[in-house]
């Protein structure tokens, strides 16, 4: 079990995001019925990563009552549980006891990847066809003649038909679609080349010709499909992993009816005017006003404020805020689609223009390449017609030009490098959503950071622990262990829990009260714990210095907190500066809090107290000045900025929409993931350019030979394969160049752990 130790590979600390398991109502809502009383629930368990985890989870959950079957999917880090009966088995509690954090997975997202299955089927069919046709072709090249050659050609033609119809369809449809919209893409020359080659070969076969190009047209498809499948797998894998992490938006809420009935309604059915009950630990589902109760609210993901705010009757609350300490009754003032969260999504979509204008290197190359290829083939045809007047000979040569220049190596050049690079990043705990993200990251010259949750962990740390009486600290820690408030958790981390307290209870919005040795102890806001008045002077002494421990109304200890900066934040900022990227910080938090962090990390430019639209404006100003901006942020308020930047990175603890808007997601706490991603992206960019150069040099040699009419199918096949292999070999160089991340437990380490686990 050594590999399951905390801090092992992929161990995500997302405790802040979902500290309370969803209610059984919520689980039921997220399950799907498989008929005959059986339900399936899909959970995302990001920390599962080895054989021992699979075994532990499957055995433990299968023992729960009413559970039919359990299956862990390691690739997508998901657990599917089938269960029957009316009550939801306690999977979350079960997984929690085993030490795994689980999150509900959205059923509508849980569809099999049909595109990937289709692509793999197409690769299989073309591979089969290419292999068999190649065998027959080798026989022809070795000297089969007359009727034998014709027979082989006919068999080849027959084998090629299903391959072209089935696998070629992918390219034909894409090419037709591009042409219909008046665009040109890489698929157009492929579709034209493949179908012309097939038609010409068929003509040759019917007329007992010596050469046929069936092998070329099918093996071309085979190679290209491999490239496309790799590209798709890379994107899909990162996408499912990102989707699988926890969510920010609540799935529904308990609605209090006019007659006192309590119904759990999905979020889409909540309308303004409804009264909602929000338990401690739940997220606020829609914007609204508090009608009853008081509590502390964690707004860090929404507004970037690092200190939890209080909520009492009349407070306006925003969707996505986490209710920390007490139950609340609220009235919805907006439907889910009109909430703050929805507004952020709209702002983000409006801001995304800059990114959608970006065209991938492969597309830019093919936009130049495709017309050149077609023009070359056409000119060859016309030239031969003029020179020889033999239309058959001219046509054959033109097709040879089209085939030999077909962007086989070019089709592989970009995806293969991106797949290798994405794999390297994945091992270092960074997920890449899309290949073009690496191209964009390689070009940046400005990095803009959010503060709370990005440069800092958004988790307060007790800074004056050494100056506090150890006995008082231990008592405070005992009391704090009963609360979910971030300050309490910071204090609790300092204590040995002796648990000799009596009647502990939490006063939401104020603090914790307990009795011990006949005294009343209070841990919380100064004005409350200090006995004077319930809502007294804490406004003046608020902030970090406002938390005290009191014994019978007398203050015995005061606590000071500071937000912890992310590990390696300073080193990461320095490395970015070394790489020629200037660093700035934008935050929704106060100038004082920002200034402290900026000083610690050596960031000279920062702008505090920005609204979400302010961040977008800042980035757009930079972009207009010609800068390529990298945005690093985690909050809901950063989401529009993530969309507006040239490229964006979010930590795994980010808000759900934020992770979806970002191009990269880093899974570990260390910020060194950023310079690493930049480094690998730049190296990948260089390799892609080299690969494109290889493909172009290859064409520079091959095309003149083809135009002069000396290309036999054998030469075409060898040349094509050789160029593809050169491109793949070049991409593999990326494996060796980057050292594994310092704290990342690499794949090799993981294998070692695994074999150890297997032995023990």
């Amino acid at each position: 079990m050594s590999c399951c130790a905390p801090g092992a590979e992929m161990a995500l600390d997302i405790s802040d995001v979902a500290s309370v398991p969803p209610s059984s109502n919520e689980i039921k809502l997220a399950s799907r019925s498989l008929g005959s009383d059986i339900h399936q629930t899909d959970l995302s368990v990001p920390t599962v990563h080895c054989a021992a985890c699979i075994r532990t989870i499957e055995t433990a959950l299968a023992k729960l009552e009413n559970v039919e079957s359990v299956r862990v999917n390691l690739s997508t880090k998901r657990v599917s549980i089938r269960w029957h009966g009316g009550d939801v088995p306690p999977f979350f509690a079960g997984l929690g006891r085993l030490g795994y954090k689980a999150h509900l997975f959205d059923p509508e997202l849980h569809e099999k990847d049909q595109t990937l299955a289709g692509l793999i089927r197409a690769v299989a069919v073309t591979g089969f066809a290419a292999g068999n046709i190649m065998l027959l072709s080798v026989s022809v090249w070795s000297g089969a003649e007359g009727p034998t050659r014709d027979l082989f050609h006919w068999v080849s033609a027959l084998i090629a038909i299903p391959a072209l119809a089935f696998a070629g369809g992918i390219y034909f449809r894409s090419a037709a679609n591009a042409l219909r919209h008046g665009r040109m893409n890489m698929d157009v020359p492929i579709a034209v080349g493949v179908s012309l080659a097939y038609a010409m070969s068929l003509y040759e076969t019917i007329n007992h010709g010596a050469h046929a190009y069936f092998d070329a047209s099918v093996s071309l498809l085979f190679f290209l499909l491999i490239g496309r499948t790799l590209d798709h797998m890379m994107r899909e894998r990162a996408r499912t992993a990102v989707n699988g992490l926890s969510r920010l938006a609540a799935r529904g809420a308990v609605v209090l009816g006019a007659d006192g009935a309590r119904d759990y309604l999905p979020i889409g059915e909540i309308e303004p005017g409804m009264q909602l009950l929000i338990a401690a630990g739940e997220r606020i589902p829609v914007d609204g006003d508090i009608l009853g109760g008081s509590s502390d609210l964690d707004c860090s993901l929404v507004s970037g404020e690092s200190i939890p705010g209080t909520a009492s009757v009349g407070t306006h609350v925003q969707a996505g805020t986490l209710n920390l300490t007490g139950p609340l009754t609220m009235e919805a003032t907006a439907a889910a689609k009109d909430s703050f969260l929805a507004e952020m999504v709209r702002l983000m979509e409006a801001a995304e223009g800059g990114r959608s204008r970006y065209r991938r290197i492969a597309d830019r190359v093919s936009a130049l390449y495709a017309p050149v290829v077609h023009l070359a083939a056409l000119l060859t045809f016309l030239g031969w017609m003029a020179a020889s007047g033999d239309w058959h000979r001219s046509m054959t040569t033109a097709i040879a030009v089209l085939i030999i220049t077909c962007p086989c190596a070019l089709g592989l050049a970009v995806p293969i490098v991106q797949v290798v690079a994405a794999r390297r990043l994945f091992e270092a705990g960074v997920m890449v959503k899309d290949g073009s993200a690496m191209e964009r990251l390689a070009a940046i010259d400005r990095a803009v950071f959010d503060k709370t949750g990005t440069l800092t962990l958004g988790r307060p740390r007790l800074v004056n622990a050494p100056s506090i009486d150890p006995v008082m600290l231990a008592i405070a820690a005992d009391m704090a262990a009963h609360s979910r408030h971030p300050f309490s958790q910071a204090i609790a981390a300092h204590g040995g829990f002796r648990g000799r307290l009596g009647s502990v209870h939490e006063e939401p919005g104020f603090g914790i009260e307990a009795t011990a040795d006949g005294s009343t102890w209070r841990l919380g806001r100064r004005g409350w714990a200090g006995w004077k008045a319930r809502t007294g002077a804490e406004g003046k002494k608020g902030g970090y210095g406002g938390t005290v421990l009191s014994k019978d109304g007398r203050i015995v200890a005061a606590f000071a907190f500071e937000d912890t900066t992310r590990p390696d934040a300073k080193a990461a900022v320095e490395k970015l500066k070394d790489a020629g990227v200037s660093v700035e910080m934008l935050s929704g938090d106060t100038a004082k809090a920002c200034g402290e962090v900026a000083r610690t990390l050596g960031i000279s430019n920062f702008v505090p107290a920005l609204l979400p639209s302010g961040k977008v404006e800042w980035i757009e100003t930079l972009s207009r000045a010609g800068h390529k901006v990298l945005m690093v942020g985690d909050g809901l308020n950063d989401t529009p900025a993530l969309g507006a930047a040239h490229v964006s990175i979010a930590p795994a603890t980010a808000a759900d929409v934020g992770r979806k808007a970002a191009d990269f997601v880093f899974l570990r706490d260390s910020l060194l993931a950023l310079p690493l991603a930049l480094d690998i992206s730049r190296k990948a960019g260089r390799l892609i350019h080299q690969n494109i150069a290889i493909a172009i040099v290859y064409n520079a040699f091959a095309v003149p030979i083809a135009i002069s009419g000396h290309v036999t199918p054998l030469i075409a096949a060898i040349a094509m394969s050789a160029s593809s292999l050169a491109v793949i070999a070049n991409a593999m160089r990326l494996q060796g160049v980057v050292k594994p991340a310092s704290q990342g437990v690499g794949l090799r380490q993981r294998r070692a752990d695994l074999s150890e686990a297997a032995r023990s």
């Binding site: 399936q40 054989a51 055995t59 999917n73 390691l74 690739s75 793999i120 299989a124 089969f128 297997a758």
Partner: protein, 56 residues
């Protein structure tokens, strides 16, 4: 020469058999969790509780 009349169809049939096998395996979900499949060989299967059916 005449043997080719048999051999080519036989070769194609065997190849198609392999292709069919692959497509069947793909459809039945054998490739859905490649990482998991690589790790699962390390798990002892003595306990009947673990013999859970494959989902989807």
């Amino acid at each position: 020469m005449t043997t080719l009349i048999y051999l080519i169809p036989v070769a194609l049939f065997l190849g198609a058999l392999g292709l069919g096998g692959f497509l069947w395996a793909l459809r039945s979900g054998q490739y859905e969790d490649l990482d998991g499949a690589a790790e699962r060989i390390l798990i002892d299967r003595d306990d009947p509780h673990e013999m859970t059916s494959r989902s989807n």
